[in-house]
Amino acid sequence: MQRYLFSRVIQSLALILGVLVLVFFLVRLTGDPARLMAPRDASPERVEQIREQYGFDRPIMVQLTEYLSHAARGDFGTSYHYRAPASELIVTRLPATLELALAALAFAVVVAVPLGILGGSNPGTVMDTLARGVGLIGQTVPNFWLALMLIVIFAVDLGWFPSFGRDGPRSLVLPAVALGFFPLGQFVRLTRSAVLEVRSADYVRTAYSKGLSTRIIYLRHIFRNVSITLVSIIGVQFGYMLGGSIYIESIFAWPGIGRMINEAVQNRDFILVQGIAVFSAGFVVVIQLLTDVAYALIDPRIRYEE
């Protein structure tokens, strides 16, 4: 177990280093950073001034080394627009995004897992049709459209929830539903197919041949194996959500990381975009690491892997 964890941590660190380098080059592929940061009508002198001010005139490898050494100390540069350190800005936005991601995830899991289990355990029944229907709708309805519909119905017409802003639990409902709807569809579909698969596994037949009750077989043999599938997909989705949803946060004016990306791009805030990209990737890596730990706790084959 320790060995497994150790190797996963090392892999994660290597992954983050890779992400840093990749982001560094990718954002520079979008064009000359100095020109991007300068207003459109800026004079060449002004562009040149920005270039010097931010050190973009130096050789690229020098810039990379400096960027990496700063990143290692948690310094992702200073936002051009906000005139504040990028990492600090991201950290202040993080609670809002985290709150939204957790709420959306909880909504998706609480609805999807029982539905998927009921559908998968009773194939061909009304429950199964419902589960498949929800799975299909969840994965096909675009979340920005759903967000607008939720606002029209529940905020404008019925007035049950505020249509924008982050102001107490009630304001969390609509964005969480909108954001959680896609993963909900995915979770239903995967839970259903995992239950269908596991319930016809040989070891479940063995469990029946021992005379165990259906309840025990589901609790001890089926759900445990289904949870392996669920843990991995929930981890992936949560990682993505922590990077912030540009659409949902912008539509609901949710002061999270997603909305900040939108603003940073519009403001040509090159340093901030770079910082958010690194942070978002970092969240995915960290959640992935936690997922792997959860995996190992559930599945002894991973735990005892040589």
């Binding site: 070891y203 041949s209 021992k210 005379g211 043999h221 084959r301």
Partner: protein
């Protein structure tokens, strides 16, 4: 000897998109207390489905036990396994009837220790406390030959080899001292040396514990070394049954003859193995005809229209209502009432061809001379080119023709037999 299980006219169907699949089609047999009954047949012959449906382990739907009875003569009471409530069949599963499956690699839950998986069964069916159940599980691991059982108790299936896992499966199956052990090809997935160990283990344990065994296999060698009696299944029906020695030395049904002919022999030169022409039957087709008819060298028009009754091998007589009868009826093999009186020693085959064979033979000759399996196969001419078939002296004509049939069937033994 008294029976422990009496299965009558079992039929199992599966509803599929292509129609109804007749997986098991009127299977009857008895299992005597303490004996080992071998069931042979190729994939899809209904061996596993019929045994799994006894414990109602087939998925329903799409599976359905269409008809039949399976009387289980347990110590305290006699019950019909096929009509018990789910709760009561759950009480018998793993308790009075143990089941070992084919693939030990996938038959154990990878996420639970083997100890827990053995204990589960004990705790379900006995009143042992947690520590007692653990103690019993360790004893069982020792009994099935797992070294340092106490340490291995907490191991996971992936830490065991295939043979070891099958030993664990055996430990689970016998954990509650069952009356019957159903072994569904338990050695098929194992290599040969391990296979021999598992065979020896099951033989030893079931003899020591006095367990009756149903051993499913498509390996005739395994059956020969293990079984007291054998059922040969084909296309969801039993086509032949008999004591293991008799069946191997004088097979009567063309399919059995073909099966034995397809075995390589230790003695003898490099003769070519005989194969059974054609492919296994489609189980979607109507169950009224003989399933082996399309591949049978003796097939004639009648085989297409009715299922042959079971004949006592070598006599041409069928068993009817408690007395041996000189006459035959069409539905003998399908009637559960008559099956109930099956004499245990009977060697019977479900085929018309015995009728013909005996008529061909000189009446002064003793019936059913013990032929070697290979010789029988040669005589049957299965797999041989049609031109080569007529040469053997005991050989029936290559094919029946409708014009010959009435005269062949009006002998005094078969007088009642009308088409």
């Amino acid at each position: 000897m008294e029976p422990v299980l009496d299965v009558r006219d079992l039929a199992v169907q599966f509803e599929t998109v292509e129609g109804t699949l007749h997986a098991v089609n009127g299977v009857s047999f008895r299992l005597r207390r303490g004996e080992t009954l071998g069931i042979v047949g190729e994939s899809g012959s209904g061996k596993s489905v019929s045994m799994m449906s006894l414990l109602r382990l087939i998925p329903e739907p799409p599976g359905k036990i269409h008809r039949g009875r399976a009387l289980f003569y347990d110590a305290a009471e006699t019950v019909d396994l096929l009509s018990l409530s789910n709760r009561r069949i759950g009480f018998l599963r793993g308790n009075r009837i143990g089941y070992i499956f084919q693939d030990p690699m996938s038959s154990l839950n990878p996420l639970l220790t083997v100890g827990i998986q053995i204990r589960e069964s004990i705790e379900r069916h006995t009143r042992l406390s947690g520590t007692q159940a653990k103690q019993r599980a360790i004893e069982l691991l020792e009994l099935v030959g797992i070294p340092s059982a106490a340490q291995r108790y907490g191991n996971y299936p992936h830490q065991f080899s295939g043979g070891m896992r099958q030993r664990v499966m055996i430990a689970i199956a016998i954990s509650c001292d069952p009356a019957i052990l159903i072994a569904d090809e338990p050695t098929t997935a194992l290599d040969v040396t391990v296979q021999a160990q598992i065979l020896a283990l099951v033989r030893r344990l079931t003899q020591e514990l006095g367990i009756s065994v149903i051993w499913i296999s498509h390996d005739l060698g395994v059956i020969a070394s293990l079984a007291d009696r054998v059922l040969v299944m084909y296309g969801g029906t039993v086509v032949e049954r008999g004591d293991v020695e008799e069946l191997f030395t004088s097979p009567r049904h063309p399919y059995t003859v073909g099966l034995l002919g397809a075995l390589p022999k230790l003695q003898g030169g490099e003769e070519q193995l005989v194969n059974i022409r054609g492919t296994p039957p489609s189980l979607f087709s109507s169950p009224t005809q003989c399933p082996f008819e399309p591949r049978c060298p003796w097939a004639f028009a009648r085989c297409k229209t009715e299922r042959p009754p079971e004949f006592f091998a070598g006599t041409g007589r069928v068993y009817l209502g408690g007395t041996e009868s000189a006459s035959t009826t069409q539905d003998t093999a399908e009637s559960p009432e008559q099956e109930a009186d099956e004499p245990f020693v009977a060697h019977r085959a479900a085929c018309f061809h015995d009728l013909d064979r005996d008529q061909e033979r000189d009446p002064s000759e003793p019936p059913a001379p013990a032929q070697g399996a290979d010789k029988a196969a040669e005589a049957a001419g299965i797999g041989a080119p049609p031109s080569a078939r007529g040469s053997a002296s005991t050989d029936p004509p290559p094919a029946h023709t409708d014009s010959r049939q009435p005269s062949r069937l009006t002998g005094d033994r078969t007088g009642a037999e009308e088409l």
